[in-house]
Symmetry: C2
Subunit: 138 residues, 2 copies
Amino acid sequence: MVDSTDKKLLDILKENSRLSFADLGRKINLSPSSVRERVQKLEEEGVIKKYDIQINNKLIGYDLEAFILLKVFPGKLKYVINKVNEFPEITVAHRITGNQNIHLKVVVENQLRLQKLLDKLMQFGDTNTFLILSEITK
Amino acid sequence: MVDSTDKKLLDILKENSRLSFADLGRKINLSPSSVRERVQKLEEEGVIKKYDIQINNKLIGYDLEAFILLKVFPGKLKYVINKVNEFPEITVAHRITGNQNIHLKVVVENQLRLQKLLDKLMQFGDTNTFLILSEITK
DNA sequence: TTTGAAAATAGACAACT
DNA sequence: AGTTGTCTATTTTCAAA
């Protein structure tokens, strides 16, 4: 199970996942080896799914981000779920409860690209789009 | 500017941000030093905002995830944006266009916790909640 | 969980192209 | 400019306690 030490490690890694085991150990008064053991176990158990980075997409030419709610046409859900992989613009996809059944986060260069994406998605179901104005930083 | 080599690095780091500069270099045929230079510049420019981890919340006792659209009461927006920080359940918050103006992702232990959170959020505005059933993996 | 020791890497700097 | 080699300090890794 995940104890309070593990939770501390997870919290720290959430803020900076590139810290060395030595640094992590210093922060929570544990030897590097012990930290390594714990982190490795968290990986094996699947608690840590992935080490990744947060990118400022605007700085690399992707100026538009949006959430799209998709109400998939009856009987097409499985098909659409598979199709999701083929869209590089879709960065995260979730199945959700409610009137719509799929929630997407998309990142595109500009409005034209979003329009083209929506044209395609409209073949799968009804779309409801919310442009992202900014992230509220915590 | 960000060239194609940088984009490759970003793509790789998005999948595994704990790789060493040496490993990154092996993947794209570049020396560790060069990789280090590039990654450091990407950090300085703000392209890489953060190194973080993706956690399987269900495995640590947080069984419920949801998206919440919030239509904040008139004149209360700034107040609410500041309040967001006080909710540990809120993992990401965005300002969005449309009928609602804030999009939240929340992680809670169970339905009761969600209910309590919604009770509080309802003081700020009208809520629209979508439970997350699963993530569609890419 | 800790210690210890070998292998690998990080970080800094000078030099090269 | 971007890239590379070299150097040392630090870290990772793994065995053993």
